[in-house]
């Protein structure tokens, strides 16, 4: 299967502190991967490294064929990251934020309104300043940028945080639809049950390295899944 992310003994530093300490990871195109681990385990750093925002200084790291050690910037137009912060300009409206993001990505600004509408940002909310929106609405605007850009790889850091039940379900649908279109989704979440229900692969991170790669547990009543622990870097067959 086509590998879109490949890390081998990848090391990344924040100052002198290794935020990634020898990561081995393969992610196949179309996979929905859940990263889990304790606070500070390295989930966010791994997502940021995949986005070319954290410099990998040793080992091997390639995303969509771009060598991150040689050029961490080349991959950025092909990935989308929704992190703890929204990345939105507070004084600008959701519509203007999306149009700016789309023009920067060399995409048509006409994608903005449908994407916002998908996430329930309509009517007067389109022109309100982002600063005046609730935390959940801002989160939905940030997700709208991802939906409008529809990059090859979706990187989601605690994507359900701040969303109400309705929009959590909506986000789950968007993630599954993206994967069905061949997009790859890598997400970090502490909401184990919800995120695991979406994931085809679960990666446990500890101490800045991959501890295990497993398939999610089958739902109650289903035939038992193969959930034996795998070595770091081992590719797990896709579980439908």
């Amino acid at each position: 299967m086509d590998q879109v992310i490949r890390f081998r003994s990848a090391v990344a530093l924040a100052g002198r502190f290794p935020v990634l300490a020898g990561v081995d990871l393969d992610v196949a195109r179309g996979d929905v991967m859940l990263l889990r681990g304790a606070n500070g385990a390295g989930k966010t750093s791994l997502l940021r490294a995949c986005a070319g925002l954290v410099r990998v200084v040793a080992g091997e790291a390639s995303v969509l064929g771009h060598d991150l050690i040689q050029d961490q910037r080349a991959v950025r137009r092909q990935v989308g990251l929704v992190g703890h912060q929204t990345g939105l300009y507070q004084e600008m409206s959701p519509l203007d934020n999306l149009r700016f993001a789309l023009r920067a990505a060399r995409l048509g600004p006409d994608r903005a309104e449908p994407a916002l509408s998908t996430l329930g940002i309509t009517g007067r909310l389109l022109e309100a300043a982002v600063a005046d929106l609730s935390a959940g609405q801002r989160r939905r605007v940030a997700l709208s940028v991802l939906v409008a850009r529809d990059p090859e790889i979706w990187l989601l850091d605690e994507p359900h945080a701040g969303l109400d039940a309705e929009h959590r379900d909506l986000l789950d649908g968007l993630v599954l639809a993206a994967a069905a279109r061949g997009r790859t989704v890598v997400m970090a979440s502490h909401e184990a049950d919800r995120a695991a229900s979406l994931a085809r692969t679960i990666v446990t991170i500890a101490g800045g390295a991959v501890e295990s790669v497993t398939a999610p547990a089958p739902p109650p009543g289903a035939a038992g899944a193969d959930d034996r622990p795998r070595t770091a870097g081992e590719v797990v067959p896709v579980v439908a």
Binding site: R55, R77, L81, G83, Q85, L88, E91, A104, A105, R138
Partner: protein, 222 residues
């Protein structure tokens, strides 16, 4: 690069128009500085007229620090800087766009302050072309140097106090040359203002080139 510069410049100006920080804070601050100079030299009107170009450019210089700080403050909230890095925009385009937005804000401010100088200090115009050209070129130099150092300071704790320490010594030639140009343009000096303009042009070109070349590294490393 030019397309990205237009995009970033337009975005920064749109934010300023919506946020009204420039109109509500920077412009009143600059006028206040000018007014305080007027009070300080009130006893000697001749001295006030003579010193008007220098006072004007000191007010512009101090205000440019606020404009540059504001330009980077909007990239420091809620992960917008990461958003800008992830956008794939050409760093040189980002630099030029930010410079353009600051230049437009400074020129608008200079028009306002120019009116203030005429009203408060009673100056007269002798060479309007020199006045306008030197103001434009000096604004480009201030904005370019401010944007380079604004980017350096933006990743550091205490950036608000660091920026003036970095910028003020560097832009001293702009203050000197622009003041000389304006003294000639206002007839308060017999200096050849057009020769001083060449220093402003050189300063602007150097900092524009420096910014275009270095901004990629600055965006990643600061």
């Amino acid at each position: 690069m030019w397309r990205d510069a237009l995009l970033v410049g337009g975005k920064d100006l749109r934010i300023e128009i919506r946020g009204r920080v420039a109109t509500m804070q920077v412009a009143p601050y600059a006028m206040l500085v000018l007014l305080l100079f007027g009070f300080a030299f009130d006893q000697d009107h001749n001295l006030l007229t003579q010193a008007a170009p220098g006072l004007f450019w000191v007010a512009v210089l101090l205000s440019s620090l606020l404009a540059v700080q504001r330009s980077f403050a909007i990239e420091a909230t809620d992960g917008t800087r990461d958003g800008l890095r992830l956008s794939g925009l050409d760093p040189a385009g980002i630099f030029l766009g930010k410079v353009a937005a600051v230049v437009i804000e400074l020129v608008a401010l200079e028009v306002l302050l120019g009116v203030g100088v005429v009203v408060l200090f009673g100056t007269r115009l002798h060479d309007p072309a020199l006045l306008v050209v030197s103001a434009l070129v000096a604004s480009v130099g201030l904005a370019a140097a401010g944007t380079v150092y604004g980017m350096i300071a933006s990743g550091v704790r205490g950036r608000e106090t660091l920026l003036p320490l970095l910028v003020l010594p560097v832009v001293a030639p702009v203050l000197l040359a622009a003041t000389q140009c304006w003294m000639a343009a206002l007839g308060s000096s017999t200096t050849d203002g057009w020769r001083w303009l060449s220093l402003l042009v050189a300063f602007g070109v150097i900092y524009l080139a420096l910014g275009v070349v270095s901004f990629s590294t600055l965006v990643e490393e600061t």
